[in-house]
Amino acid sequence: MMIKKIFLVGYLFSSLQASDLHIVVHAQQTEKIKVGLVFVGVPTSDDETMIARLQKDLEHSGQCTIVQKNVAKIKKRLEFKTVLPDDVYLTVFISKVDDGYAWRLYDMLSMEMMVGKKMACLQRPPRLMAHLIADQLWPAMFNQSSSFASKIAFCKQIWKKRGTREKSYKQIWITDLDGTHPQLFIDTPTVNIAPRWAGLECAPLLFYSENTLSNVQLIMSNMFKKRHVVCCFDGLNMQPTFSNNGKEVVYCLSKDGSSQLYHSYVHGLSKYNMSERLTFNDGNNISPCFIDDDHLVYVSDFETNKPQLYLLDINDQSQKRITDGGYCACPCYSKVNNKLVYSKMIDKGMQLFEYDFTTKQHRQLTKGPGSKEEPSWSACGNYIVFGMNEGLKSRIAQLNLITGKLHYLTSEKDHCTYPNCSPVYQNWIGILKE
């Protein structure tokens, strides 16, 4: 009997061991994911501004659709499902705590909290709070870097009457990453061009070039609009690029005739400010761009009489050409992607190209009418902001590399050029806080 029992048990056990199928499936379609955004509590006007701004930031990415609701109270987790539709599987619950906000990301399928954080206000405006919360939420949801709190500086041409004639000037404006909330930053009665963000994350600075009667001088401005002349040689003083540690800068000077690159740094032993010339050719060397602390990319026409991109080693000043022919200009490097974006003449217009330092491959990013110039990577590496020139019109456009969509940041009526994206600063002071 015992043997029979053992036999029966063994047979039953083996039959109950259902076979597991292991299947691999690959997706063939994509769609925007629906994310719920619920404010718990009674919102004030600032809270509503913050929520609206947060919704716009997340939707600007083109990767998700936000379903926004306000709820006075939620006592039980089961009530979560009644707040939002059934096809919303991911929800962010925001509530006000002390002097700040707390957000919690919930999985609506299992009704479990995945991650949550708090953010203190510290007298920041609600718009900035929304950007900061979005910068915290985005990596938690998509595991991607984000730069909702970064800024874009650009030049805007205006016409002012001076006596009997109208004179054109160029101002420098600052706007959010999606082109909203533009603010006038530099308004001097001259032409201001080529803004460049710099400085450490705790001390943001903006460099730009200002036309004078005798030269084009390099100006530095802090976020309180306090300006200081940095470089005032004869000719052009423009387009500075800064190393990652912020201690080295390479810029263009044309005091010796043609535009050459100069390297300024602090000597390690003597602690003196040193300046040395990097290029010694008859061509025009412009638009330097740091790749890492030892290498930079710049534009020069000394070899082919047409501007090409070159990779320069600062230590031994050896250089290697990256592009093969054509008219190439305006390089900008993204550390996140390890890629370079630049403009190249195709037919009669400039198009954006991308060079991958990992694969050493070039790829065309844009096609179609219009001349795309002065590209600049966003801090997250997901956007490229550039100047789009179509005939007499000149606008700032933004290319979303994930969705492939083009979005204009400035209106058709304004003549805007020279966009430059800032890093995500940790210290929001002056105009950044407004």
Binding site: F7, G10, H22, A27, G62, M141
Partner: protein, 332 residues
């Protein structure tokens, strides 16, 4: 051995002598041992069954599956990679067909060359045939002599096709030269028509001159079928072949159904990288809907994990996997 066997009452009623007792004990022991072995075998076969996990990919690439005959489980060395694609372009052929196709591929080039050969080459071939026929004839004579010496060889003589052809004219050695191929003709009805035409095509072209009309008619049919098969041959890449056993073949159909359903319902979030994938275990209920979905290996992207789990909850699984647990790896 067992206490109850030593019981005197049992000895009196059941067993009389010591020899009988010993035999009884021995029989009981062997019976129990056999039952235990049987139980263990069934138990372990069940365990190995549930470990039979296979991965199916729905990439667009087409794969040729070769069904290995008389094998329950194909050796891992024969299986190329760990994925089996079950796209619509996949084909399944048996092992014999695979071998024949390989031969055909090798000889296919030679056959094409033969059709374009000049008369001089053809005459050289005829000479070779005659030489081969003579050799075969000599071999047959030796066999006949050996068989005549034995009593049983008569039966063997009857069974040997060669013996029957001895009585025929010398032309028949040409058939003898084709004994390698004549059996093919006999087995033609057993094999699938496409394969059969492949085999007969080169044979028919050579033999059609010597044989009678019915075979010529078959040759004509074989030519037309051969054209179709040539096209299939071109489509089939014999270098990219996956060997599957009978068990896998049964589950391949089920996998294909599940993949179709999952692909219809799954839409990946925008902006997710191509190398992202996540693994989930799905417990399917009695109605074909999943009753429980658990994440085994996360992709690292919460949005992606949730969209996959939401999709698996809504999918209607086929009947073959009802009341079972399956593992699904969803990738880009």
């Amino acid at each position: 051995m067992w206490p109850w066997l030593q019981n005197e009452h049992f000895k009196k009623n059941a067993l009389l002598t010591e020899r009988q007792q010993f035999l009884g004990q021995l029989c009981l022991f062997t019976l129990v041992a056999h039952l235990m072995i049987l139980g263990i075998a069934i138990f372990f076969s069940g365990m190995t069954r549930h470990k039979d996990r296979f991965v199916v990919s729905t990439q667009k690439r087409s794969t040729v599956y070769v069904l290995t005959p008389y094998k329950k489980q194909a050796r891992q060395s024969n299986v190329r990679g760990s994925t089996i694609s079950s796209s619509k372009a996949s084909k399944v052929i048996n092992y014999q067909t695979y071998q024949q196709l390989q031969k055909q591929k090798k000889s296919g080039l030679k056959i094409k060359k033969k059709t374009k050969q000049s008369k001089s080459l053809i005459s050289a071939q005829k000479m070779k045939k005659k030489i081969a026929e003579k050799k075969v004839g000599a071999v047959i004579k030796k066999k006949n002599q050996e068989q005549a010496a034995l009593a049983k060889p008569k039966l063997a003589m009857v069974n040997v096709d060669v013996v029957e052809t001895i009585d025929s004219a010398k032309k028949k050695p040409s058939k003898k030269h084709i004994p390698e191929k004549v059996p093919v003709e006999k087995t033609v009805p057993e094999i699938e028509p496409k394969v059969e035409a492949l085999k007969s095509e080169p044979v028919v072209e050579q033999v059609s001159k010597d044989l009678s009309d019915p075979i010529k008619k078959e040759a004509k049919l074989a030519e037309t079928d051969g054209e179709e098969i040539e096209q299939e041959l071109e489509d089939i890449d014999l270098d990219d072949v996956t060997f599957i056993d009978s068990e896998r073949w049964d589950s391949l159909d089920v996998q294909h159904k599940i993949q179709q359903k999952v692909q219809e319902n799954f839409k990946s979030p925008i902006g997710i990288g191509k190398e992202v994938s996540c693994e989930c275990t799905v417990l399917i209920g009695q109605t074909g809907k999943s009753s429980k979905v658990t994440m085994v290996k996360s992709s690292g992207i919460r949005v992606y994990d949730i969209s996959v789990r939401a999709m698996l909850v809504t999918v209607d699984f086929p009947k073959e996997v009802w009341n079972r647990t399956i593992t699904v790896v969803v990738g880009q």
